[in-house]
Structures are given as structure tokens and as C-alpha cells.
Symmetry: C2
Subunit: 396 residues, 2 copies
């Protein structure tokens, strides 16, 4: 990447929480970035508004039926408009794109991310599933193409920030910090009857529904552990989780001399987005600063795998490797959807994941097509489990 | 410095606390370091023992009367033996020396450090006074000679470790952490009657008497603030102090994007020594590791300048600049010596420093000779104040 000139950015999933914040970063630093490509699923109105402001070369809307509306609005501005997921995979290869921010939700982010890597684009990775499901394939492709993967998750960004200047020094271990979620202090019986509404009421920041549920069940932290293992080329036993309710220390790295580096600050998704887009330069911001007087005590505790079985399942899938994280992820997506539809209890999400991990035969190496098969088959089985699940009956 | 080969090390003050720990680092990594020069004040027996183990090219003992004893012991091994402080300044220029660790105590460290810089040697700086007293001269000389100054103090090492990979990113502010010392919770009346014995009983590690008293009075943290200002080219208002009784977070840096990096670990002087000697490589160690379960809460509080006036005086001297830090340092050295001789009360040390800062006329720029004059004159005045001081009477 040319460090001096503006950086050409593609944002996959521009209308979501990460995408809109990324555009705020671009807006604040017009001398550093130019938007080349915006894609979204179906929020045509917001996509049109964004395109009018940022004047990308191209936009893609996944939902075919919305293409005409977007095209009518943007053709007069000379902006190319495509639709469908194939168009996303093709557009990321555009020559003027230096970096692709992958902020699509779920398994759907995998193919476009792989397409961007194959096209030699650096990746700002906000799509967890890409590395959780296909870490081996994705990191190998990135190595082959000389592509850097910059993390956007605040925990991984913290590790990445701590690794600056230390690339030749081996990591001994990392700690990913976890807020513990809104149910950190509930016992197992209370967790059983947690409602969708309670779970969506996350204290620290607003995210999508899926990730909010994953945060509450600690599955999110388990997925982050798997992601971190691939991102930083670690063994499973080098990845530790520590609950830190204040969410000020965003994660820590320990080196082979015993020295630990941590990245801290007020919770703010924009900082890691900006760090990934601008790396290695830190762009000045005028936001609120951390003040020790408001956080006189930073506390840490071990996560309780008995009360949060999702975390234990994720760590087990990390240790197993192969298709286990793919099964874990697919089963969890189905389970969360069922919980959000009031068809499954909070702890029963873990039962569905555990059953799928038992049901699907283990495979140690996987092609992209194998992973898609595994994902599909897991979802089929998980749907069965959630359909017969006992949630409404559990209350009685 | 040639990163591959062994690094030729000179240790000024090899028989002190830092010097002996530095030699332990060398002993653990014989493939990385070779000792070229050892110097000490008057501990001839230990110097002889160290020279027998590490076989330096040259040793220097400052105390003239001890030269013969050292020479008799080491000539048979082919080790050159010199005496006197001029010999130290000359020996640091030896060709095979890559890095000079300045672990001498007090103002006496300044001239040899300057001599090493003039000879183009990188500096591992354990002598606080060098930068406190002569920060402008020393950093200018280092810039001119293309010499790096690697901090050995754990707080400055923490900042330095956090700066790795960030040299092009501006620091917004730093926090130096302070344990608060053994008297963190005493009120002013109790502080007045603190005894030498109480002050020398530091909880976290054993250091020399002078620095132990400075730690208890927070003067040490004030000197560290001035040192940090020069080391990292900061303005006085960018240097903040935060009391952190667990001494786990060794200091923190905030960048212009609001992101904070901290270095943490169990209190251990050897890590920063090793980091400075081995930079940028982190050498593996097998020591005890930090465990969150033993430190579930890390706490932070503002320092109380009313109870610890030494810190306020140091920060004021930092803001004034010029000869003020030189006066502060010299007055404090005399005051601490008087306290250690039971001739001055704990809080009266600050009175002596404050009086000297008032008595000496302000000078904005200073040569090395000016600084030595200022140091001498301050000591003379401080001696007067400590001689007439009211400590024994204060009890009545």
C-alpha cells in the first residue's frame, strides 16, 4: 500500500454498525481515504444516501429486487450499480481498491473475503466467521498473496496494536478480555429463564442482535478466541480468556520475557476500525479520553464455563480444529435465531451446539466447498434440534 | 549495533543493584553479550569476583587506594585495571564496546554518560540524574552522535516498550505509575515522624538506600517525570503521575487517537535491564509469570501533593526547566543524606529542597560546567539548611 496517498477502501456491509462507523472515519479523514466500493444486503435507502455522500466507483446490493431502485438513484451520478453476491466477489478485485473492510454478518462474509484476498487486497477483517470457519484456508491464501489481515474487533485490534514493533518477538500467550455480558452474576437457574429482551439490553454499546446474544452467552468470546488463534498464528493453549467487567483493557499479550503489553481505552468501536484502515498511522481524534479517576479499579475474574457452556464449547472446538469451529458457528447461528424467535431458551442454545458437535463427523482438513457443505448440513441438523427443542415447555 | 553478533557491554557501577542484575542477564545469555568493561566505586572484592567470571577487557575502580588490590588479583588474567573517574570516562570509548549501561548512583553518572555518548556508544540508562540534571545537553549530544538511549527504569522501560513500532505516532500523554510507597496512607502528622528504618523498609523490592527514601517521599517519581520528559521529548503537561499500589502496570502511553498502551508484569528490575541490553529482541526468561487470579483488582488513585510535597516540587522544577531540576536533585541528595543520618525529618527534606529552589537564581540554559557549579552551590546551601534544621527539636 502506498503510505503517502489516499487509500482506496471497499466496505462490504456498509449499512451495518461497523460499515456506518467506518464511513464516519472516512468522513473525518478525507485526505487519507477514498471510498471505491460499498456493498450491502438490502438497506437500499441507506446505501443510496452513503453513495451520494462518498461517491464510490461502484455499489452492490445483494438483494436482486432492489437493484433498480438503487440504479435509478445512482446512475445519474456515474456510480456503477450491481446486484447479487457474485457481483460483490467480482467488484472487490477492482484495481483502485487497496483495502477491503469485510463487515458482512455471518458465514456469508467468507466468499467475498476470499475473493478479496485472491485479488491481492489487504483485509480489514470485521467478519469473525471468516477466520472461525475457514482460518486455515484464509490465512494460507493471505500468506500466498502477501496480503495483510488487519483486525477490526476491539480485542484483536488490541493484540495487534500491542504487536506493533514486536513482529520478530514470539508471543507466549494472549488474554482476550470479556465484559462478562449482562448476565455475569446470574446463576444457572436464572440463566435458564433469560429472555430475548434481557439479552438484547447490552450495557456497553449497541451492536447487531446476533452479536449481542453471542456476547451475553460468551459464545462471542469463544469465536474471538478461534479468530485470534488464526490471526496471530497461536496454538489453542496460548489463548486465554479473562473477564473484565469495566471493558477498559481491551486485551493483552505476553512475550517470552514475561513482559505483558495491553491496549486500553474507553469502549469505542471506531478506534479499531480507524486503526485498521489507517495502519500503521494513528489518526488524531478529538473524542472523550480515558480517565483513571472514573475507573479507579480495574477488575479481573476467570470465566465460569459451567454457567456459560458456549464458551467451553468454543474452546473445545478450537482445540479440535478441522471442521469443529465450522459446526460450532453454524449451529450457534441457528440456535441464536431460534432464541431470538422465542423458540429456544438461553442455555438451550448451548445444547443445540453441543448436539451438533457430536452429530457431525469430524474432518481435519476442509476445502471451501467442504466448509460450505459442513455449514449447510450443520444448519439442517440444528434446525431439527431447535424445532423439537423444549424451550416453551421448560418454563412449566 | 550489529544485531546478529554478541553485543559488547560496559557496565558503569557493576557492583550495585542494577549492575549485578545486569551481569545475571549476561550470564543467562552468553551468546548475546560479552562484557568489555566493569567499573565500580569501592567494592573491590565484588569487582574482582565479577571480573574473574566475566573476563572483561578492562576494569576501573574509582577509589585510588584500592587499585593495587584489584590489579594484583586481575593482572594475571590479562585484565587491564585503572582507577579514578577520569579512567572511567576514557575507558567507555573502547572500540569493542557497543552499549554502556550507566548504573552509577547520583550526579557522578553524568560525565561518564556524556563521555560514552561522545564516543558514539548506545546508552542503557539507569542513572536518573543524567537526564534530570542535564536532559537538554544529553539528548542533544545523543541526537548529534546518532546514539540511542534505552531506559532501564521500569517505568521508562514500560513507556519505551509501548512505543515499539509507534515511533512515527505522536504521544498525547503518558502516565508514570507510582506504588505510592510505604506511607501512601499516612497523614501529614504521621509522615512528619517517619523514621529512617520505616522508610528503608520498602515492600516491593530491595534497592539502594537513596532511591528507597526517594520512593517513599515520591521524589523518585518526580525525578522519573523529568527523566521521561527528556527521554520521550515531551512537554511537562504531557507527563502525568498515577498511584497504583499493586505495581503491576508499569506505565502507560496515550496516542493521538485516544488509544492507550500499557506494559504490565510482576515487579522485576531484571526485565527492563534485559530489554534495554537486548533491544529490540526479547530474550526468553523462565521466571514467574503474572497471574490475574493473584491480582483480581488493579487500583489507581491521584497522588496527594499536599502529603508528598517532594512530588509537587519536582513537577514544578520540570515546568520551570533550566537549572531548576539540577537544584532539585542536588538539594534532595543532601536532604536524603541528612535524613539517613537522622539529622532531618521526613517532611523536612521537602523544606530543604523548596528553600534551595528559592535561593538559587534561575538560569534557563546551562553548560556541563554550569551544571556542575550549580550542583556544587546547591549542595553548599542545602548543607547549611540541613545543619541548622530542626529535626531533633521537631519531636519536642
Amino acid at each position: 500500500m502506498n503510505e503517502g496517498a489516499t487509500r482506496g477502501i471497499a466496505i462490504l456491509g456498509s449499512t451495518g454498525s461497523i460499515g456506518t462507523q467506518a464511513l464516519e472515519v472516512v468522513l473525518a479523514h478525507p485526505d487519507r481515504f477514498r471510498v471505491e466500493l460499498l456493498t450491502c444486503g438490502q438497506n437500499a435507502d441507506l446505501l443510496i444516501e452513503q453513495a451520494r455522500t462518498f461517491r464510490p466507483n461502484t455499489v452492490v446490493i445483494a438483494e436482486e429486487g432492489l437493484r433498480e431502485r438503487v440504479a435509478d438513484a445512482l446512475f445519474p451520478l456515474g456510480i456503477k450499480v450491481f446486484c447479487g453476491s457474485d457481483a460483490i466477489e467480482q467488484s472487490v478485485a477492482m484495481e483502485d481498491i487497496d483495502m477491503v473492510l469485510t463487515a458482512m454478518v455471518g458465514f456469508a462474509g467468507l466468499r467475498p473475503t476470499m475473493a478479496a484476498i485472491e485479488a491481492g487486497k489487504h483485509i480489514a477483517l470485521a467478519n469473525k466467521e471468516t477466520l472461525v470457519v475457514a482460518g486455515a484456508l484464509v490465512t494460507e491464501a493471505a500468506r500466498d498473496q502477501g496480503v495483510n489481515i488487519y483486525p477490526v474487533d476491539s480485542e484483536h485490534s488490541a493484540i495487534f496494536q500491542c504487536m506493533a514493533g514486536e513482529w520478530d518477538n514470539a508471543i507466549e500467550k494472549i488474554w482476550l478480555t470479556a465484559s462478562g455480558g449482562p448476565f455475569r452474576k446470574l446463576d444457572r437457574d436464572a440463566l435458564r429463564y433469560v429472555t430475548r429482551k434481557q439479552a438484547l439490553d447490552h450495557p456497553n454499546w449497541s451492536m447487531g442482535a446476533k452479536i449481542t446474544i453471542d456476547s451475553a452467552s460468551l459464545m462471542n468470546k469463544g469465536l474471538e478466541a478461534i479468530e485470534a488463534m488464526w490471526l496471530f498464528a497461536l496454538a489453542p493453549e496460548q489463548v486465554d480468556i479473562i473477564v473484565h467487567p469495566q471493558s477498559i483493557v481491551h486485551s493483552l499479550v505476553q512475550f517470552e520475557d514475561g513482559s505483558i503489553k495491553a491496549q486500553l481505552g474507553l469502549p469505542d468501536m471506531k478506534l479499531p476500525i480507524q486503526y485498521a484502515l489507517g495502519y500503521p498511522e494513528r489518526l488524531p481524534t478529538a473524542g472523550e479520553r480515558f480517565d483513571f479517576m472514573r475507573y479507579p479499579s480495574l477488575t479481573f475474574e476467570a470465566p465460569d464455563l459451567a454457567r456459560f457452556p458456549n464458551l467451553g464449547l468454543a474452546l473445545e472446538a478450537m482445540r479440535r480444529g478441522g471442521n469443529a469451529p465450522c459446526v460450532l458457528n453454524a449451529a450457534n447461528e441457528v440456535a441464536v435465531a431460534a432464541f431470538l424467535a422465542d423458540r429456544l431458551g438461553f442455555l438451550e442454545m448451548s445444547d443445540v451446539v453441543a448436539k451438533c458437535l457430536e452429530a457431525l463427523p469430524f474432518k481435519s482438513t476442509m476445502t471451501l466447498e467442504d466448509l460450505e457443505d459442513c455449514d449447510r448440513e450443520t444448519r439442517r441438523i440444528a434446525h431439527e434440534y431447535t424445532t423439537v427443542a423444549a424451550w416453551p415447555r421448560a418454563r412449566t
